[in-house]
Amino acid sequence: MEKIVLQGRGVIPGIVEGEALVCADSITGWGGIDPKTGVIKDYENINKGKSIKDTILIMPGSKGSNGWSCYFGAARAAGSAPKGWAFSRIDSSAGVASAVMQIPTVVDFSKEDDPCVRVKTGDYVRLDGTKGTLEILKTSSQ
């Protein structure tokens, strides 16, 4: 397959690989996930019932309550955090969550490289928080 490398800004270093979980409508803050299991509870979420644990979680940014970061921080404490994550565009709640989580993080992609559009749930990807890249290694349809 054609090599697809999306370029953003790397803000927390580290290289991780895993299955992408794309939440193009983000995840609602405060109660959107069960921190003990990482399972998405948000009643409006397309990925409701799936777990963020050990995924490469891809979102446009945060959504909803200022309590957004603490549920991800609690997931980290419970061992249910994603391996790494990418935000189409950084915002303050996602910034706090990234500072807390300390997992490889890439943010601020161009419109053409928007990972919420280019990556599909189930794609196998490599996230490089130093170079600021998100590479699709295998698509879910392959």
């Binding site: 803000v11 603490c70 500072a99």
Partner: protein
């Protein structure tokens, strides 16, 4: 590269103790993620104290251990024993009512643990207020003042109505700022960033707080999730603070929007031109009464059935809203088996006692509660009530996400009270225009 003042560098070097050092380390880390170049001083903060449910992932019972791990994101033990001397720090809602636990089927040990957490925070310098509505107690940042809050509704109200400056930080960052008195100079803390991006024409008569609230939801569904500062135009005759707080709270939880100009109403939007500050309109659309009706349809259960819990007051009610409840419920009786609660903050409850509103509500069969709210208490309370009615989009939406009720109804406070009296949900209680 972040430019620090000498005072900030001293804190970062540990000259003012490990607590302030860690708080500032986290603020610097946060600033680097954002791409900020400097910090600014914070003079008001609300922080999320108490034994909240998400903290239960830590099995340790020591407050300072839990605080360090969850709020400071460190694996050592750092004692939380001070806040910045120049910052007015007040607590947000806790995990328990100030005095009651049995009424919520909450175990006494949970209530006691919550009281212990609050006491440790109080000793550190946090004034225990227990409210999502700190402005009810005079916590009011003025135009240009930098503040932090754990409340999304207070963030957007502060930016939009008061012209004060705040980003949607988060629970951890609010503590960091309260402790070291700094936040990244980024986003809405920078005057030049406070310009409008999207122009929304409101072609609807907005008569009640519920209509403003559903407008917030309808608008949020049309806006991009990130990076927008909407500007509203329309005929907003009769608007007041209660309507605006309902609107802003709904908008904040539907998107991550944390500032919204309303032309002719909010202080940085005397004119359309002033709101956009010379920037282009990225998108323009009109919202009508049909959009508001459509948004409402998705927010309220259609199935009829028993109503077992009716809760009013999210955000916490002011004294006039409680008076309106007392005036309406006076002489009526809450149906047997229905739990009817009105939520506010402790000083407002004292005013309700003084004015006889508490007695009227209690004579009808209800109660006034303080310091928390149903979804913050959580499952131990909510799981006992199959049918629940709320006058708040935020509460009803959270209960639906938690899945701890079979039917969740959302309507205005008067129809909520009708449901509390009849004990059943009827089609006529749905909001209609």
């Amino acid at each position: 590269m972040i430019q620090l003042t000498k005072e900030e560098q001293d804190i970062l070097d540990g000259r003012e103790g490990r607590l302030r050092q860690t708080a500032l380390e986290n603020i610097v880390r946060y600033a680097q993620v954002l791409g900020a170049e400097k910090l600014c001083k914070v003079t008001k903060a609300t922080v999320f104290c108490g034994n909240h449910n998400y903290l239960n992932v830590c099995e340790c019972g020591d407050f300072h251990d839990v605080f360090t791990r969850m709020n400071l994101a460190r694996d050592e033990r750092i004692v939380f024993d001070s806040v910045d001397k120049d910052c007015y720090v007040q607590s947000c809602v806790a995990a328990s009512d100030q005095f009651d636990y049995e009424i919520f089927d909450q175990p006494k040990e949970e209530f006691d643990k919550n009281s212990y957490y609050l006491e440790e925070s109080r000793k550190a310098g946090v004034t225990i207020a227990g409210s999502c509505s700190p402005y009810l107690m005079g916590w009011l940042p003025v135009r240009g003042e930098h503040f932090v809050t754990t409340e999304s509704g207070v963030t957007i109200i502060g930016n939009s109505i008061w012209g004060a400056c705040c980003n949607a930080d988060g629970i951890e960052a609010a503590f960091w700022s309260a402790i070291c008195g700094r936040t990244p100079y980024w986003g809405y803390h920078v005057k030049e960033n406070r310009y409008g991006t999207h122009l929304i024409h409101v072609d609807a008569a907005l008569d009640s707080p519920l209509e403003w609230e559903v407008l917030g939801k309808a608008m949020g569904k049309r806006l991009p999730l990130t990076g927008c500062t909407p500007v509203l135009t329309g005929n907003f005759e009769g608007v007041d603070f209660v309507k605006l707080k309902s609107f802003f709270t709904a908008l904040a939880i539907t998107t991550n929007c944390r500032m919204c100009h309303i032309v002719g109403i909010t202080p940085e939007a005397n004119t359309l031109e002033e709101a956009f500050m010379g920037h282009e309109v990225q998108e323009e659309f009109t919202l009508t009464e049909k959009d508001i009706r459509t948004a409402y349809e998705a927010l309220c259960e259609t199935e009829e059935g028993s109503v077992d819990l009716v809760s009013l007051g999210c955000p916490h009610y002011d004294i006039h809203q409680i008076k309106e409840v007392a005036d309406y419920i006076c002489g009526k009786k809450i149906h047997d088996g229905v739990r009817f609660m009105v939520w506010t903050v402790y000083p407002i409850k004292a005013m309700a006692d003084l004015n006889g509103y508490t007695k009227i509500i209690e004579d009808a069969g209800g109660t006034i509660q303080t310091s928390t709210c149903p979804v913050t208490i959580g499952d131990c309370f909510l799981k006992h009530y199959k049918g629940q009615a709320y006058d708040s989009l935020k509460q009803s939406g959270s209960v639906r996400s938690d899945g701890c009720a079979e039917r969740v109804y959302y309507t205005d406070k008067y129809r909520c009270m009708d449901a509390a009296v009849s004990g059943v949900w009827k089609e006529e209680y749905r909001w209609k225009k």
